[in-house]
Amino acid sequence: MSFLKLDGVTKTFGGLTAVNAVDLTVEKGQIYSLIGPNGAGKTTLFNLISSIFPVSAGRITFDGQDITRTPTHAMAGLGMARTFQNLAVFKHETVVNNILVGLHSSLRTDLFSAAIFWGRARREEIRARERAEEIIEFLEIEDLRDLPVGTLSYGQQKRVELGRALAVDPKLLLLDEMVSGMNQEEREEIGRFVLDLKEELGMTVFMVEHDMGIVMDISDRVCVMHHGSKIAEGTPAEVSADPVVIEAYLGSRSRAA
């Protein structure tokens, strides 16, 4: 039983086919990377998996459930969280509040108990806050917790976004170009966090990444997309030796010569 399975997933925008009949399978506990040249359709595929866009054709199953038509806001409850390619943090809010938003679907407070804020609502808030503090500690951002996220550096904001996704307590974590725009030190830290997530928490991580260093270092499996189609899949070593992949990235030998 595969954990995340895409079956002929296709997305067209008018006449443009952004994702063309992609099949892929992510097994539980894997770090699975999706790479490809710019415009290959990687982010679009992510948006289809997290149901931000509806698929034009095909089927997506996650943890034994068909999620092809599940609304976006239900995904967190099913155990899927994601980060975005271009920061999508709540930038006027503090770091703590950003992370607390990730806990949204695990909380139950309704309008009336919220207005009174006594008993159950208060206990639930305390629990949520404790959980948020754990995540803050894991990501080593204790000194930033009360600052508005918009005032932080790019790398710090990315880290908050990762924290927010972790707050969902996901079984599957989708990371869209997590390390872009980061320096070497920050990249290595993120790589270490991702490995920790897999090894300590047994989380499945599916990432879109341009940074080949991190892809080759930590991935269990790599999938390559080009012009909306999947062109190769395998271990990092297999993929990097695949002539089709080399051609997609560098152009064909005959033309180059």
Binding site: H73, A74, F90, H92, L111, R122
Partner: protein, 348 residues
């Protein structure tokens, strides 16, 4: 410099405040407000009631526009619905005011669903126009639904009693408004520190990310509309008690603009800001009146002749000045001052 500020339990972290100074000063403020009718004259008391009603309305609007980021120019409409709801139920159906006042809020909340649903797909200016249209529709419906609303004749709102006390004048009205204002402020502050408040803020800052984090946009936007309109409707009901005669002319476009001006001046998204803005903008005409009386020769009719024009100019000037020099509003000024003093003598 203020140092050594630590929390020992998570409960303290989520409390509205754990600072003894804030608790102390809030106590002083409440005590002062409770004692006010003993000290001040009738005119000042009326002014304070007006301020408190503005506070209720501003906190309501702030929830929708400041916190959730849905710009509304329809406040006058919701105020009108609340005011008429209260007035009709109280005067024509003989409901006691403690029931008709919240009922007016409920009517306003239900009607907000009508605006809320088409507004789900609209943002920014488009939503502002839709809500503006809504407030015009409301005044037309009120004008033509004569059997219920008395149309152009308006309604005289008299004889509201709670426990045998007339709550439409003097200290009784003041205490009623104060009670409602305190309840509303506490309610909203509480909501803002739960997942509801965070959901609204998330929608304002990044709606796609909010959805991905499990926030149902439809539900939360409608919830913001309903809660906000309920509060604004109650402000309308209080207004009808205070002014004792309502017709549609009371609820003109300028009222919606004033409401928006209040939360811009106060600082969007902050309850304390909305309160400050309401106090500031409601007392501004008063300050201008006093200033004119000092400048002009006694008996000059200049101010009374141009009162509306002067007021309009003053609102405009103040809004422009704040947007230019202090976009965070009064709450931003307050935060700066607090930061300055708590860091003193260091710069930061």
């Amino acid at each position: 410099m203020r140092t050594g500020h630590f929390q020992e339990t998570t409960g303290q972290l989520i409390a509205l405040t754990d600072s003894p100074a804030v608790i102390g000063w809030t106590g002083v403020l409440i005590a002062g407000l409770l004692a006010a009718p003993l000290v001040v004259g009738n005119y000042e008391l009326t002014l304070m009631v007006t301020v408190l009603i503005a506070v209720v309305g501003a906190v309501g609007l702030n929830l929708l526009t400041g916190t959730t980021g849905l710009i509304s120019l329809g406040q006058a409409g919701f105020l009108a619905v609340g005011a008429y709801g209260n007035a009709v139920l109280m005067v024509d159906y003989g409901w006691p005011v403690w029931l008709s006042l919240p009922a007016g809020g409920v009517v306003s909340a239900l009607i907000s669903l009508l605006v809320g649903i088409p507004s789900l797909r609209l943002k920014g200016l488009y939503l502002a126009i839709t809500t503006l249209a809504f407030s015009f529709i409301v005044s037309h419906v009120i004008l033509y639904a004569e059997p219920i609303t008395h149309g152009p004749n308006g309604i005289f709102v008299n004889g509201a009693k709670i426990l045998g006390v007339n709550v439409q004048k003097g200290p009784a009205l003041y205490y009623l408004t104060l009670f409602v204002a305190v309840c509303v402020v506490l309610m909203v502050l509480n909501m803002q520190r739960t997942r509801l408040g965070r959901g609204w803020l998330a929608i304002r800052d990044h709606d796609i990310a909010a959805r991905a984090m499990g926030i149902d946009l439809t539900r939360y936007k409608l919830l913001a509309f309903v809660v906000s309109s309920f509060i604004v409707g109650i402000a309308g009901g209080l207004l009808s008690l205070q002014i004792r005669f309502i017709n549609i002319d009371v609820f003109g476009l300028i009222l919606s603009i004033e409401a928006l001006a209040i939360i811009i001046l106060g600082g969007m998204g902050s309850v304390a800001g909305a309160i400050m803005g309401a106090v500031f903008l409601t007392l501004l005409p008063e300050a201008i009146r006093i200033a004119f009386n000092l400048i002009l020769t006694p008996g000059s009719a200049f101010y009374s002749t141009y009162v509306y024009e002067i007021r309009g100019v003053a609102y405009g000037a103040v809004i422009v000045a704040f947007l230019r020099f202090k976009p965070d509003g009064l709450i931003g000024l307050w935060r700066d001052a607090r930061k300055y003093w708590s860091n003193w003598p260091l710069a930061y």
